[in-house]
Symmetry: C3
């Protein structure tokens, strides 16, 4: 079966940088199937990229090699990591990008499995000339091609004891209340929270209340079209997390909400 390599970067959908990574990969592993997760990560926004990576990767089959390059420290002494988690391989700079992948307990919806971690240091897998500003092409792409061709990540360098993590808020549940936060704002302004659907188990979806920045939403919807165009709704989204949206409009704009905005849920008695 052809190996799948995914790419997630902040290089921009209009730049040629993702294509340069693909050229290097195909030159070294001609049978690789390359899939773009996105090249539209907001520039240097490692936290958003970490969410995009974990949520998108969960749709790919075991054995997929995920390459994530949002790397404002490129060329400095920051480490590069290879991680094995959930049957897939992840390659990324050690800047927090792998937080949600390596610590799946933070978001149970993404599945379990401890991570094997390796520091990518073995230059024999790199391109001969490594630029100081484009490790995506000169290091990550050839390393991904090597792994896709059968190289064990243990050959890429020494084990890494831990990884850099960004400060990741966990929801707090007490009595009949859950205090959470917005984790991710998608391109349509839908707000994804850190409140997993498992936290809502056993409560009546019709009777709970979701509060965000003064707005109160009563009950969970199933479909955007359950409410009028322009109305707020809350629902369990496609990542298994509570989301808040406005039907056909942007909840982020409507509520002036952003990553980190508190979201609370009152469970009905």
């Amino acid at each position: 079966m052809a190996p799948i390599i995914t790419l997630l970067t902040d290089f921009g959908v209009e730049s040629t940088y993702p294509a340069q990574m693909k050229g290097v990969i195909l030159g070294r592993c001609p049978g690789a199937v390359i899939v773009d997760i996105s090249h539209g990560v907001p520039r240097h926004d490692v936290r958003t990229a970490a969410f995009m990576l974990a949520s998108a990767a969960s749709a790919f089959p075991e054995g997929t090699i995920h390459v994530a390059v949002v790397d404002p420290q490129v060329g400095s002494q920051r480490r590069m990591l290879a991680a094995e988690a959930g049957g897939c391989i992840y390659l990324a700079p050690d800047n927090g990008l792998l937080t949600l992948v390596a610590h799946r307990e933070l978001l149970p919806c993404f599945g379990g499995g401890a991570a094997r971690l390796v520091a990518v240091e073995n230059r024999s897998f790199f391109r001969t000339d490594v630029s100081s500003t484009f490790h995506g092409r000169d290091i990550f792409a050839p390393v991904a091609a090597a792994v896709a061709s059968g190289t064990d990540i243990g050959d890429l360098g020494p084990p890494a004891a831990g990884i850099a993590q960004f400060d990741f808020p966990l929801p707090a549940k007490a009595d009949r209340n859950i205090d959470g936060r917005v984790l991710y704002v998608d391109p349509f302004g839908n707000l994804t929270t850190n409140i997993s659907k498992t936290l809502l188990d056993g409560c009546d979806p019709a009777r709970l209340k979701v509060r965000v920045l003064g707005a109160v939403i009563r009950g969970l919807s199933r479909a955007y079209s359950d409410v009028a165009a322009g109305a707020l709704l809350a629902y369990v989204g496609s990542a298994g997390l509570l989301e808040v949206a406005v039907n056909r409009q942007s909840a982020a704009a409507r509520l002036a909400a952003d990553i980190g905005t508190p979201v609370s849920v009152s469970l009905a008695p």
Copy 2:
């Protein structure tokens, strides 16, 4: 030969949603060749998507599976359809998206062929957990993978008697005049009308006049560069339909034209 699956959505070129569909497809049909038609359909604009689908699909070989997900009613009781038309398979919500594909007589340039229609209801082809907001990943992607792997669309559900259609204007030809409308505005502001080149058969291209919102264009051009930069021109476009453009600028902006804008043609005696 590897099956081709195309994707057309309004998920945005920067979102990870198209990638999630691809992960599901490749997990179930590893040999599929996936091609993005576009993920930049204006959000919820089913009418524009219907044109983009029909015009782009006509360039693909027989046997291609086209998946189109512009689906503001996702999660509601709207039907999902599988259609066979022109030797290809189309999967889409039943909201008008397939109007031009199923009724090719509306735009003869897209070729003929009656459509076989099936309501997609057989949950055995869906993912185990179907979210209420992302049927592209949880229903359309696995169904497309099943069809690409050899499943007949008759196995997807019961026959569907008809499909939802949006109101689709037909050009009116009388004497030496054709009254048509703008069907589609491309990203460059070129205006595609519903006036097929066959309606212009037998008239002298140099002597006809095209009228749009007060502007009069005399004669058909062949190339944008036949006129000065900034000048209006009319020509038979790449979809076999009359188009109006401004060389190196946007005709939509210049004329304040949009979908539905009347366009008339006077044929010379």
Copy 3:
């Protein structure tokens, strides 16, 4: 090994035109691996496309077929070219797009090799119906599929004696000074100059000075993060050319610099 075909156009990442090219290619060469270099070339900007093509193509393996369609004269009598350079094949309109590919001596970093040039005229490789406005789909795509299927470019038409070139500035080196210009502004506002790293050989990187529009940068950096956020830096970029950037911001915006802006380097004694 599956043939690789790359596409570079100004059709826009949201349009369906690139997909239409892919449909035609896959219909004629089902095993082709198609890679987008970019569809976000600024509309009609042949000069920028020429740089994007040459810099991105250098990352692809020998045998790759590069199709570049930035073609404001489409439908006119402008020639179309097939070129062999550096073990790869290039297909493009003859409007300057191939300047840097055919004349690699202009930018030594892109490698050497004289070009074989052919005028693409043999209509037996074109689609049956060739539109006047979309030669990407009707001529370049089927010709690329033919070449990917083994057609020698000599069969595409007669030899072409020369190609259209845009005016390409060469850096001037005198004493301890190099006068160059900005060649390319990437989507992040980084400025790529025409000053190759070989021109800097033998000088102390820490002691040279780069001047752009009144700003003076002392010494070359290795990483963006070598300087504070918001500070200017100069470095040898991933194309082997001197670049000027602002860490985490746009140098083009900061300096009001654009293609053609003079950049000079003083080498230390």
